[in-house]
Every structure is written in structure tokens, then in C-alpha cells.
């Protein structure tokens, strides 16, 4: 199991959809690498400064509610992964996006609204997840989180295909 998280990018909005994570016009790509430069290309967040052009060095996305809603495209987690982002921390996720993260051996961590609010207020530079202690390490703070046994098994197996292949 690789480490999860790193330098955090804060996306201060709910309902960030998969079109905003990776626009549909790039769904004609059949290699995951080709998605990398187009991550969040059309995402605009009112009241926030424009997103950086490069996500080099970013390891974590912090967002509000219903992150990843809309299309089922696994291109969204792939575009994150291709940019080195394997941890998304949010108040809640759309079901398919969340499942896609774990199916690819990545982490989608839900935290209570008050914890998310505090993260947006304090904006610690790094946010990482420790699967041994089941804590999010956000700067100086440690925030406990929960995973279902299945989610955990998927992360440990490196994804759903590896889990299912040995079993079914």
C-alpha cells in the first residue's frame, strides 16, 4: 500500500462534478496518461483565485459535499491519479465516484461537516491519511476517519479487480 496524500489543494465548493474534474471532450482518450494535463480544466470556483495550471506536488484534494457527482467516468479518478493525487477528503461523495476511487485502490475519505469547515478555515499545507491509525493528519491536527471493511480491503488489495480476481 502506497502512502496517501501530501500537499493539499482546497476546492471550496459543493457538487464539483466529473465534467469539472475531467471534461467530456477528453473521454475520447484511451490512455490514462493523456488525461493528466486536463485535470480540473473547466473548474471555476466563485470567490476563489483561479486554480494553478500545474498540480505538480499536490497529493490531496479537500472539497465540500457531493464531490464527483454526475457522470460515471472513471477518467475522473484516473486524472487525479495521473497527477499524483490519491486522496480526496470531502464532506460527502457521489456514489459512483467514491466507488471508482476505491476500485482503483485510492482513498475517498468522508469527514463531518465541522471538520471540513475547520480544514477550509485553517488550510493546513499538507493533508495525509494514515491507514494504520485511521487518522487524517492535517498539519498539526489528527482527525479520525472511518472506512468500511470492504473499502479497506479494496485499498489493501490495490483495487476491485485484484480483489475480485482472487475470489470469484
Amino acid at each position: 500500500m502506497k502512502g496517501f496524500g501530501g500537499k493539499a489543494l482546497y476546492l471550496d465548493r459543493s457538487d464539483i462534478n466529473t465534467d469539472e474534474i475531467i471534461p467530456a471532450k477528453y473521454l475520447t482518450e484511451i490512455s490514462k496518461e493523456a488525461l493528466a494535463p486536463h485535470l480540473f480544466e473547466d473548474l471555476r470556483i466563485e470567490g476563489s483565485s483561479p486554480l494553478p495550471r500545474s498540480f505538480r506536488g499536490i497529493g490531496t484534494i479537500v472539497a465540500r459535499a457531493n464531490f464527483g457527482c454526475g457522470s460515471s467516468r472513471e477518467h475522473a479518478p484516473w486524472a487525479l491519479e495521473e497527477n499524483g493525487i490519491r486522496l480526496v477528503v470531502a464532506e460527502s461523495f457521489a456514489r459512483i465516484f467514491r466507488q471508482n476511487m476505491f476500485n482503483g485502490g485510492m482513498l475517498a475519505v468522508e469527514l463531518p461537516a465541522r471538520e471540513i469547515e475547520r480544514l477550509f478555515t485553517e488550510r493546513p499545507a499538507t493533508v495525509t491519511a494514515d491507514l494504520e491509525s485511521m487518522r487524517i493528519e492535517a498539519g498539526e491536527r489528527q482527525i479520525p476517519f472511518e472506512l468500511s471493511p470492504f473499502d479497506r480491503a479494496l485499498v489493501e488489495a490495490g483495487g476491485w479487480l485484484a480483489f475480485a480476481d482472487g475470489r470469484y
Binding site: 457538487d15 462534478n17 465534467d19 469539472e20 471534461p23 467530456a24 471532450k25 473521454l27 475520447t28 482518450e29 484511451i30 490514462k32 473547466d42 471555476r44 459535499a65 457531493n66 457527482c69 454526475g70 457522470s71 460515471s72 467516468r73 472513471e74 479518478p77 460527502s92 461523495f93 457521489a94 456514489r95 459512483i96 465516484f97 466507488q99 471508482n100 476500485n103 482503483g104 468500511s148 471493511p149 470492504f150 480491503a153 483495487g159 476491485w160 479487480l161 475480485a164 480476481d165 475470489r167 470469484y168
Partner: protein
């Protein structure tokens, strides 16, 4: 304690429960299209596992960009085509026989009551109209379903929607689901199934029920679902006749799946369907919905009638009823996209295409194209489109474009006026006892 239809389907398909609450289900059908499947195919090939669990349960279509618009989309089609041939997948629908997946596959009888259906497409929930648990999944879930015939779910709770009364004239399934999404909000049904009940739902044709179920995911739902009844039997009869012998036998078998009267729901949402008016979204979320009559000053550049939500024959009929003998406004580009070849043929036979063409619409071949901004009607920055589609996300139909989600009747009236328009003045008075 009674069971919901979803609970019955889960119990009947349970293959494994690796952890409490994680249900691995056997799937009855895996639907595939050329956008999300090729990566799964390539990955299976790379892993030396280029196999399918059961070729007869895999249904394949090229629909998102058809005909191919460039080398990349041509390659996606080729990967899918070669794979379907290699594995002797009989139900493969290439250009000429292809249509928007969630219209085409139900039309072919591939979605049945009690089925578990998965597809790498979020609007797979459309097939819930037939009393199936039909869920959109990502490419990895699709890949495992292709290889192993299983898919894992947390057993969803069910939200019961009770749509009381009949939809008034000029108000359709699309308006009802927009109201439901508005009430539930974009994540109000996450990890839930929305079960549609009530007089208004019972009165809907299968087409209308598909429109309803199609947008369940816009409230975050895993699937929409409707109890099967006589309409379900009638729709599926060409495919079920041999198997069941009589309609009564088919109905009895299908009704087995229906939710029990004492089934337990997480909550019930009551809607007075008889009080609804024509609705439209505004802004960029599908739960931002209001009466069309409040948005009458919104100028539109394009009107799009089509998609898995509203590209079926009934949709084209009602739009044509509005357009008959009229011309669309000069400022409007009208595009109508019959969702399947069958819809296209019927529309031609009934003279609907002639109505569209005389009104100034462009008629395209069946494809998903414009709905997700991939081809056949992409918007320019700053343009506005009234569309019978299902998503109005910022940039969905093209970067910087605005989409208003409306019914086919509202779309047609809007095309005539050049701005969002209430369709009711354009529709003929209802005949007594007419069904909608």
C-alpha cells in the same frame, strides 16, 4: 416484514457477502458503449484476461460519438467492434443499427423485471423503469462484471416517491422528475434507490417511466425503479411471448418482484402531480428548477430534442404536435436526434420528421453527441440551449455554455419563440380519456 423490490432483487442475486453490508451480486446484463469500455478491454488484454463471463449477457453499442468524428473516436469504436467480434457477442449494435444505449437496450427487451443491470454510464438507472436494479458504474466495476459477471454494492435504502393525481395537460414525466430532483437535491438520494409510485406514475407509458428513472442519478440515486405492471408486460411482450405464453403469466411472474405493501422505506416523498406546471432548470445544477413561466425572458441559441431522457417516439410526437405548421425563431438552431433507428423510422412513417424539417429543425442520426458536448451540437462560449437532456452542469454541452433542462413540449415551444416558453398554449386541448 415486507421487502422492497430492490431488497428482493438483492436477495435473489446475492453471490457473496465478503463483509457485512457488502453485497456482491450476479448480474443479468452488462451493457457496454465505446467511451468507458475500451479502457476495460485494453486492461483485460494487458492482464492476459481477455475473456467475457457470458457473451449472451453482454450488450454492446457504439453510441456516444457516431459516426466517429475523428481518429480517436474511430479507434474507440474499433476497439469495441473488434472485441465484440472476438468474443462472439451477438448483440452488438454498430452504426446503422445503433442508438442511444438507454433507449436502444430497453427497446430490444434487454432490461427485464428483477434484473441486475450494470453499465459504465451513470444513466443506466433508466432501465429501472422495467423493475430492474440498474446501476451506473465505473470502468473497473464494468471490467469485473465483464470478466466475472458480478458487481459489488452496499445494499441501498429506498426512498419512496408518491406522485399523487394525474399530470395536467402540458406537464410530462420530465417535469415530474425535475420536481423530484428539486425536492431531493443533487445528493439527497446518494446511496439510495428512488422507487416511483402513485397515480401519475402508474399512468405513465414505459417511455415516460424511463424519463423518470433516467434522472434518478441527478439526485444521486444508485437506481430509479418502478414496479412492473401491464404496461411493462405490453412493452416487453414481443420478447417475452415465447417464454411466458400468456400476458397474464408474464404479469404474474413480473409482479413477483413488486415491493410488498408492508415494505419499509427510509422516507416517502409525496408530490401533488396534478398541481405541477412546466418546469426548467436554471443555472448549473439539476436541482435548480423553477416554472418555465418565470424564465420567459431567457433567450436561447439552440434547442436540442433527443437523448436517453427524451429522445423516444412519444417525445418526438409531442414536440411535433407543438411544431406542426410553425417555424422556429430565426435566432434558434433546432436539432432533433431520434434516440434509436426504430424511433427514427416511426417518426418518419408518422410524418414527424417532415414537421421538424418544415419547422426548420436539423434531424440527426441517433447518438449521444451533443448531450455531453462531444459532437452534433456543441455550444460556443456564452450560448444558451434548451435541451431535453438530463444534465445542465457548467460546460456540459460545451465550455461556457448554459443548458436549460426541459420537456420535449417546452423545448419545441421554446424553439418557436426563441426564448424559454410555456408549451401549454401550443398544445391541443386534451381529448377525453386520453392517456399520457
Amino acid at each position: 416484514m415486507g421487502k422492497t423490490i430492490t431488497e428482493k432483487i438483492f436477495a435473489a442475486h446475492l453471490a457473496d457477502e465478503p463483509f457485512p453490508g457488502t453485497k456482491v451480486l450476479r448480474v443479468d446484463a452488462v451493457f457496454c458503449h465505446e467511451i468507458t469500455t475500451p479502457v476495460a478491454i485494453n486492461d483485460l488484454v494487458a492482464r492476459g484476461k481477455d475473456r467475457v463471463f457470458d457473451a449472451s449477457k453482454i450488450k454492446v453499442v457504439i453510441d456516444h460519438v457516431s459516426p466517429a468524428k475523428d481518429s480517436k473516436t474511430a479507434l474507440q469504436g474499433k476497439i469495441l467492434r473488434d472485441w465484440a467480434r472476438r468474443h462472439e457477442i451477438r448483440d452488438f449494435f454498430d452504426i446503422g443499427r445503433n442508438g442511444v444505449c438507454h433507449a436502444l437496450f430497453p427497446e430490444k427487451g434487454f432490461a427485464r423485471p428483477g434484473y441486475v443491470v450494470v453499465m459504465g454510464d451513470s444513466h443506466t438507472c433508466t432501465s429501472g423503469a422495467f423493475g430492474a436494479f440498474a446501476a451506473g458504474v465505473g470502468t473497473t466495476d464494468l471490467e469485473v462484471a465483464i470478466l466475472k459477471g458480478v458487481c459489488a454494492f452496499r445494499e441501498p435504502k429506498t426512498i419512496r416517491v408518491e406522485a399523487k393525481g394525474r399530470l395536467p395537460r402540458g406537464v410530462f414525466a420530465k417535469d415530474l422528475i425535475l420536481e423530484i430532483v428539486r425536492r431531493l437535491t443533487t445528493n439527497g438520494a446518494t446511496d439510495r434507490v428512488i422507487e416511483f409510485h402513485g397515480e401519475a406514475v402508474k399512468a405513465l407509458s414505459m417511455e415516460g417511466r424511463m424519463t423518470l428513472s433516467n434522472m434518478a442519478v441527478e439526485a444521486g440515486a444508485t437506481s430509479g425503479i418502478v414496479d412492473p405492471d401491464d404496461f411493462t408486460v405490453d412493452y416487453l411482450w414481443p420478447f417475452a411471448a415465447e417464454e411466458y405464453g400468456s400476458r397474464a403469466a408474464a404479469l404474474a411472474e413480473f409482479r413477483r418482484w413488486c415491493s410488498d405493501p408492508d415494505a419499509v422505506y427510509e422516507r416517502t416523498l409525496e408530490i401533488d402531480a396534478s398541481g405541477l406546471v412546466p418546469l426548467s432548470t436554471f443555472s448549473y445544477r439539476p436541482d435548480q428548477v423553477g416554472p418555465v413561466s418565470d424564465m420567459k425572458e431567457v433567450l436561447v441559441d439552440q434547442v436540442y430534442i433527443g437523448s436517453c431522457t427524451n429522445g423516444r417516439i412519444e417525445d418526438l410526437r409531442v414536440a411535433a404536435a407543438v411544431l406542426k405548421g410553425r417555424r422556429i425563431a430565426d435566432r434558434v438552431r433546432g436539432i432533433v436526434c431520434p434516440a434509436t433507428p426504430e424511433v427514427f423510422r416511426k417518426a418518419m412513417a408518422e410524418g414527424l420528421l417532415d414537421v421538424f424539417l418544415r419547422a426548420g429543425f436539423c434531424v440527426t442520426n441517433p447518438t449521444c453527441g451533443a448531450c455531453l458536448g462531444m459532437s452534433n451540437g456543441v455550444l460556443a462560449e456564452g450560448e444558451v440551449c434548451a435541451a431535453t437532456t438530463n444534465r445542465n452542469f457548467n460546460g456540459r454541452m460545451g465550455k461556457g455554455g448554459m443548458v436549460h433542462l426541459v420537456s420535449p413540449a417546452t423545448a419545441a415551444a421554446t424553439a418557436v419563440e426563441g426564448k424559454l416558453a410555456d408549451p401549454r398554449p401550443y398544445l391541443p386541448e386534451e381529448k377525453k380519456g386520453a392517456r399520457r
